[in-house]
């Protein structure tokens, strides 16, 4: 009988064990297959957010694509096909996985009062209220509408903004719009990529 590739594969599946197209018994192989613990990962190409070099990275995500499973990032490595870094990463980039999955990550706002040494938890509502109150008070007291020569400048030099390199485009867009509308000059989003 002529054995086609399709027939062979079909036989293997239906028989559970069967033989290969060249006559090898698959029974012991099949027995080992039954005990395998298989995990699925996905590899996603991305860009390191830390600096303006913009190294390519590959993010490994564990999860079998089931709807009730939250994918988990298990590894981040340099992308060997990326023309900038060719698989290499600096120590910060090499630790990117810990930026994504980290038990020390802050999940709620905190405040350190003037003169205090410790941070204390604060609710989102209270944090937003306090930021709004202090911003208005500071701006009302120190806003500069004209410089010493009488030119209109509309500057606020007593408030600054420091962003983080992992901030998203959307967050940085809002930061620029809101800070510029207040007159903030000392403004840094750390947007490098």
């Amino acid at each position: 009988m002529e054995v086609s590739r399709r027939t062979f594969i079909k036989t293997t599946l239906i028989g559970g064990a069967g033989v290969t197209v060249f006559g090898f018994s698959l029974a012991p192989v099949y027995a080992q297959t039954q005990g395998l613990k298989i995990a699925r990962t996905t590899e996603t190409r991305s860009t390191c957010p830390y600096c303006s070099v913009s190294c390519g990275v590959i993010i490994h995500t564990l999860g079998d694509k089931a709807k009730n499973v939250i994918p988990q990032v298990v590894h981040v490595e340099g992308d060997p096909d990326h023309p900038i870094n060719r698989g290499t990463l600096c120590p910060k980039g090499a630790s990117l996985q810990q930026d994504i999955v980290n038990e020390r990550r802050l999940l709620k706002p905190q405040v350190r009062r003037p003169g205090a040494t410790d941070w204390e938890d604060i609710s989102w509502d209270n944090a937003i209220d306090e930021i709004a109150r202090w911003t208005k008070k500071t701006r009302d007291a120190t806003f500069i509408d004209k410089d010493k020569n009488g030119y209109t400048v509309n500057r606020l030099e007593t408030i600054g903004w420091i962003g983080g390199c992992t901030d998203t485009n959307e967050l940085n867009f809002l930061a620029v719009k809101s800070m510029r509308s207040l007159g903030v000059c000392y403004f840094e989003t750390q947007a490098r990529v």
């Binding site: 594969i9 293997t12 033989v19 006559g23 018994s25 012991p28 099949y30 297959t33 340099g78």
Partner: protein
Amino acid sequence: MSEWWDKQIQRADYLAPRANGAKELLNFYAHLLRAQRDIYEFLRSRRGWLPSGELECDLPVLLDALPEFLKAIQSHGPESLAAEAHDLSETDTQVMTERLMMYWRNSSDIQFFEKALLQPYLRWVFCGGNPQVSFLKNKETTAESGNRDLICATCLSSWEFRRVVCANCGEERPAKLGYFHSPEFDHVRIEACETCKHYLKGVDLTRAGFAAPIVDEIDAAPLDLWAREHGYTKIELNLVGV
């Protein structure tokens, strides 16, 4: 280049006694590799002769190595292969000539004798065939991640290939490409594509630098059965038919 064959043989000899499900496959493959190395040495050591790259011209020389090769398969192959090897040894070489030429024009991964006999000859040639296996290996000295290469199932040459791309259909969307691992085979994984439902195995030499991809691929045969049970088809069967 003989060292290349020796490395594959040593790896097969090392893995075979330690293998679980693939012991028989590896034992045979070690013998097959020895027979192929002998063919390679036979071709290489011929005075004043180099492969022309045109099989039709080179066949008379290659067929001189056929009898020894068939003897090896008769001695160590499974019943069906041994019987076919016996039949071929008693058949006119014209039959094998025609079979080899047919394979050369239109190769198939279920033609054992043609593929196994041509592999040593094709070490001089790049054939452009399907990949058997992929492997990851550091190419930048300061990189921890591995570049991906594919090994041709027919001529055993390797060529560079991008990491997150299906080797069968070129799919690049991450969600369509699945990588399946098992702790039992720490450095071998299934690289599967949801678009074309094909897969090949990948051997990570950054985790196990002493591995030989085409041999370790056979050792991890249980992963193949798992992949088939889950609806994936291998791009190209290897020389034990897995």
